[in-house]
């Protein structure tokens, strides 16, 4: 008949450097701890994660020599697992996880509108180049273009602010765009993000 070594002896041996003792302890309590975690989270993958985190804590505590509950190894492990289960639910409450399935993919409904790093760099470069090009325009055209494009003012507001008629403001905007295109063509400048 096989005699079972007590948990407290295995813990003591493990602390003394016998790694085999840990293997016996994990295998001995694997089923009870895993079943306990699974009964709470009802997810196989999360159960594995919590089981792993539980024993990582066990290993760290034992190696640091902070363990002081000799003879109560399993209840101590269960308490660590219990605390990690609570942490898991707290974290999930703050950040609920949504899993799609074959019929419905969440990314078909929502998307990330942000540009990736490369496109953002190109966009910044274009914005910077365009500012330099605008500086090349005559002052009256530059003024109208800046008010219209960057300050989002209407031509009525522009005419009131510059003291010219709406038609003149429209004409200056038109010439500003024509001149910008000419500068771009003349210098073979490429302003595109795609």
């Amino acid at each position: 008949m096989e005699t079972q070594i007590d948990d407290s002896v295995l813990v003591r041996d493990y602390i003394s450097g016998d790694e085999k003792s840990l293997e016996i302890l994990i295998n001995r309590h694997n089923q009870r701890v895993t079943s306990f975690i699974y009964s709470k989270v009802l997810d196989r993958d999360i159960t594995e994660d919590i089981f792993q985190d539980t024993f990582i804590k066990v290993i760290k505590t034992l190696k640091k020599g902070s363990y002081s509950e000799e003879g109560k190894f399993l209840p101590w492990v269960m308490r660590i697992a219990h605390n990690l289960i609570i942490d898991h639910f707290r974290k999930n409450k703050r950040m609920p996880m949504f899993e799609g399935n074959d019929d419905f993919n969440i990314f078909s409904v929502i998307g990330d509108e942000k540009l990736n790093a490369e496109k953002q760099l190109i966009k910044d470069q274009i914005t910077s180049d365009l500012k330099h090009l605008i500086e090349e325009l005559p002052d009256d055209q530059k003024e109208v273009l800046i008010m219209r494009i960057y300050k989002d003012m209407s031509f009525k507001e522009i005419s009131e602010n510059t003291g010219v008629s709406i038609n003149t403001a429209l004409g200056r905007m038109r010439y500003a765009l024509i001149n910008l295109r000419k500068i771009i063509d003349r210098h073979n400048i490429v302003l595109t993000n795609y």
């Binding site: 840990l22 994990i26 089923q31 079943s35 089981f51 792993q52 990582i56 290993i59």
Partner: protein, 47 residues
């Protein structure tokens, strides 16, 4: 009488962590070294 039972009763089942997880923990344990210096404790993972 049936109301006294948890609604998750049917989900209770015996499961075990997979062998890979156990092997990871054993490897982690072998690689983890704790060094104490005065009141300080240092953890190092040596593969």
């Amino acid at each position: 009488m049936e109301k006294v039972y948890s609604k998750h009763q049917k989900d209770y089942r015996v499961v075990k962590a997979c062998a890979e997880t156990v092997q990871f923990l054993l490897a982690y344990s072998r690689s983890l070294h704790v060094v104490r210096y005065k009141d300080l404790t240092f953890e190092s993972i040596l593969n």
